[in-house]
């Protein structure tokens, strides 16, 4: 098929308007997530290799409180579905509902980070600091990197709420909401690996 077979309007549509920034940034953001995935793969690999080097220190069984982890997991999963509801409100063009669901998502996110900080504080008080053993170094590096991602996600969420509040659900803001949606669900996906591999499998070991 050549360009000559396209009528004028269609030709303009497909060839002149080829530059389509929206999809460009969504695909670019997807590639960023894939590279982030590799960062976590390296951290998981490191945890897998040195995760049982306790240096005569505490093991996962002595440290992890699964009730806390279960609540944390619930927070992140709930924040995932509430972000989904925000996206559905965006698709309907409902600004107030979008902001409401984003706020609820933010509250769950803050609860998650808060509980994780509480857990870290508790571990450090017990003397289970990152310096204690290779297992704890790898644990803090992996779980801390994830927590840092969620924290930056919350900052992004708050900024985006201000943007939506000020400018409404414009095309640009919809694109930003899409990107944060990918980011937020991706972090929940990484957390599945963390609670399965680090916490649950750590405790039964």
């Amino acid at each position: 098929m050549t360009n000559a077979t396209l009528s004028g309007a269609v030709a303009e549509h497909y060839w002149v308007k080829d530059h389509h920034p929206q999809n460009g940034s969504l695909f670019g953001f997807w590639l960023y997530l894939m590279s982030d995935c590799l960062i976590f793969a390296v951290l998981f690999a490191m945890y897998g290799v040195v995760g049982s080097n306790y240096a005569a220190g505490p093991a996962p069984k002595d440290l992890f409180d699964l009730n806390l982890v279960a609540i944390n997991t619930a927070m992140l999963l709930l924040s995932s579905i509430t972000y989904g509801f925000a996206m559905l409100a965006t698709a309907r063009g409902h600004k107030v509902h979008t902001l409401l669901w984003l706020a609820i998502t933010g509250v769950f996110g803050v609860a998650f980070v808060g509980l994780e900080l509480y857990e870290f504080h508790h571990l450090i008080e017990l003397g289970a600091t990152p310096q204690r053993s290779a297992f704890l170094s790898a644990f803090f590096a992996l779980v801390g990197t994830h927590g840092l991602h969620v924290s930056f996600g919350i900052v992004w969420l708050v900024v985006l709420m201000a943007q939506v509040h000020r400018w409404g659900l414009t095309a640009v803001n919809r694109r930003r909401l899409m990107c944060l949606s990918l980011f937020w669900h991706f972090l929940d996906l990484i957390w599945i690996g963390v609670f399965s591999y680090v916490y649950l499998m750590g405790v039964i070991r």
């Binding site: 098929m1 396209l6 009528s7 309007a9 269609v10 549509h13 497909y14 308007k17 080829d18 389509h20 929206q22 999809n23 969504l26 695909f27 997807w30 590639l31 894939m34 995935c37 590799l38 793969a41 390296v42 998981f44 690999a45 490191m46 897998g48 290799v49 699964l66 009730n67 279960a70 997991t73 999963l77 995932s80 579905i81 989904g84 509801f85 996206m87 559905l88 965006t90 698709a91 095309a171 694109r175 899409m178 990918l182 669900h185 991706f186 929940d188 996906l189 599945i192 690996g193 609670f195 399965s196 591999y197 649950l200 499998m201 405790v203 039964i204 070991r205």
Partner: protein, 140 residues
């Protein structure tokens, strides 16, 4: 190929709702990236089940075999990751004209090589380098 066919298959126009001449496929445009309420609810219910069962197995001390529990945790974790990718990240073979799928397959290959390769090599090294109790006793 007619213009209509071209329109439907062109990946660059998944996000058509901002251009006026795209109004006819508004629904089609919204469907792929945003998902539907049904998709989110299915994804959420599956995730709750796939999370609750491993936690129950470990916390309730249901099974005797640690190997079986570990296998179930891994299988359920992998399945839940797939559920998230399909129902929350809305990945399918059509998103971004297939490039999203290609990127994630490439990434998964690298992830598997990184994790499985590290565990294999380092485990092997530990086995070969770690002195056994017997050797330690005769060491100077």
């Amino acid at each position: 190929m007619s213009a209509a066919e071209l329109h439907d298959t062109d990946p660059r126009h998944v996000h058509g709702h901002n251009e006026p001449h795209h109004s006819d496929d508004h629904h089609h445009g919204d469907e792929a990236p945003h998902g539907s309420l049904r998709e989110y609810v299915i994804g959420f219910v599956l995730s709750v089940l796939l999370t609750a069962v491993p936690f129950w197995l470990v916390m309730g001390d249901v099974l005797d075999s640690k190997l079986a529990i570990a296998a179930i945790i891994i299988v359920f974790g992998v399945v839940q990751m797939l559920v998230h990718v399909v129902y929350f990240l809305h990945l399918n073979t059509r998103s971004e004209g297939g490039w999203n799928m290609l990127a994630i397959i490439f990434t998964l290959v690298l992830v598997v090589i990184t994790i499985a390769g590290s565990l294999w090599v380092m485990h092997n090294m530990n086995e070969k380098m770690m002195p056994s109790i017997h050797e330690m006793r005769i060491a100077p």
